[in-house]
């Protein structure tokens, strides 16, 4: 792990250099255009200064995005409609609700699949097939239909998040609940353990590493679901709405700041699960 700090930093620095260079390259046309209209000649230095400070650049420079994020998080009241914290919270709440629902559904389905042969044979193929339906594609329909049925706000978005996050949980939990080998199951039988005891004392603890791996994937997926679920509501609130509004009005800096916020959110949530995983597995003596 320690050996990769320098390479990672180098790569990240490389990305920033490319980003700044690309900002000059992509925004140059507009800068030249502006200079030609006002009849001035652009020196290289002026060109760079201009391309890094345009209002609606094709690609905003990193510092512009950072400034925008700072202005919309720290310098705005969090109740304000223009605060990025407010929008992040809208998205985060849908993500977390959907994630909780998806995890619950996923675990329930996994238990059913492991313990019921009919369910295993008939449901499991459909659980897999269900993921080939691009749910994100039908997100608008779900939102509008639930809206017509009188359900709006958090729940429709959470439904989409749930659909995206339950699949990794089902797959991981089925694998995990089946991970105790025959020898361990036989051992439980020699102790004349009941079915419930085998489940709580052996199968469930054994599935924990699989569960946490799935939860990380599910959390990331659930955030994507919440963001896309915000698109068809006509850009009201949330990070997805910020993306859509930004694309309507050409506010590239706004798009990028919403994007970075979403990235930070995803990283924080996945990191949090990773932390819980380490603590739990440590206390269970598995890590």
């Amino acid at each position: 792990m320690r050996g990769s700090v320098v390479p990672v930093l180098t790569v990240v620095c490389g990305i920033f250099v490319i980003w700044y260079a690309a900002a000059v390259w992509l925004n140059a046309a507009w800068a030249y255009d502006k200079a030609a209209r006002s009849g001035t000649e652009l020196s290289t230095q002026m060109l760079i200064a201009d391309t890094w400070s345009q209002d609606k650049p094709k690609l905003p420079a990193p510092h512009q995005v950072v400034v925008e994020i700072w202005e919309t998080t720290a310098q705005k009241k969090i109740t304000s409609k223009r605060s990025l914290v407010y929008h992040s919270w809208i998205t985060l709440s849908a993500t977390l609700l959907g994630f909780a629902l998806g995890t619950g559904l996923g675990i329930a389905l996994a238990v059913g699949i492991v313990y019921n042969r009919t369910m295993d044979r008939s449901v499991m193929p459909w659980v897999i097939a269900s993921q080939t339906i691009p749910i994100l594609a039908i997100a608008p329909m779900i939102i509008v239909v639930l809206n017509a049925a009188g359900i709006s706000g958090l729940l429709p978005k959470a439904t989409i998040s749930m659909y995206l996050s339950f699949f990794p949980v089902v797959v991981g939990m089925v694998k995990g609940l089946r991970s105790p080998d025959q020898m361990q199951l036989d051992q439980m039988r020699t102790w004349s353990a009941s079915g419930a005891q085998t489940f709580w004392r052996l199968r469930l603890p054994a599935s924990m590493p699989y569960l946490f791996t799935s939860l990380k994937i599910g959390m990331a997926a659930s955030l994507v679901g919440a963001i896309v679920g915000e698109l068809p509501t006509g850009a009201v609130a949330g990070l997805g709405a910020r993306l859509l509004a930004g694309s309507y009005y050409g506010q590239t800096i706004q798009i990028w700041s919403a994007l970075l916020m979403a990235a930070a959110l995803a990283a924080a949530l996945v990191g949090l699960i990773g932390l819980i995983q380490r603590i739990t597995l440590n206390r269970m003596g598995m890590a």
């Binding site: 094709k58 009919t118 044979r121 963001i227 997805g240 694309s247 798009i255």
Partner: protein
Amino acid sequence: MTGWLIFALLVWAGGWWLNARLAARPATGFTSLIIPVIFGLTLIAVWEGVVRGFEISPVLLPAPSAIAARFAASTSILWEDFVQTVIRGALTGYVLGCGSAFLIAILVDRYDFLRRGLLPVGNFVAALPVIGLAPILVMWFGFDWQSKAAVVVVMVFFPMLVNTVQGLSASSSMQRDLMRTWAAGYWTTLLRLRLPAAMPFIFNGLKIASTLALIGAIVAEFFGSPIRGMGFRISTSVGQLALDLVWAEIVVAAITGSAFYGVIALIERSVTFWHPSQRH
């Protein structure tokens, strides 16, 4: 009205009973195929029964029969959307994205510094909501399919890169030493040992990318699109409450997604026939 509900209940019970009987028998290729099919047909029959029984408005949930009728009536629209979104957008992006990720992966594998630097970053990016880049790419590449292909390239690139790099380190050092004793150079080792050993991982990446590609192409159309394409049709038809057309598009998307995934799985089976997971 209640007749339809009773019908739905009976079909459900009958289908479950049949499946329970079949599942209790020793598994054969036939039963493992027929059981999910029966389950799926039961679901469709229950759907039809419930929609008719409760007289649910077609604006909320159209019956499967209505969807099928609409599907048959608008095949030309569906085909046009399919060509625009799947062939032009998703497939182009998929080929470009997976191809470039594969080449970069070999480069990354060649230089250990890059591997240690780029791989954590790649892992990180793969977990981010990359789909959010769609509005930016639509701005850069215009409204037509090129921007959709670009979104797909970005979405499939990192999962494919991470999987390929991981796969390239799948061969054991003992096997590599053996290649060295045969005086095999880097490229010979790569072609004869490491790429074949990487195939299970590469196909894993290709499979993940296949579902992402379709999603990316459709969602990108929500951010601006010419007047055709599956994402465009879905979002506008929802606005017009023409839900039967939306469901017809969903059927197309589901079939396309499954077929895409299935084709890759089939190729995988013939390429990685030696892998334990393929033995039955």
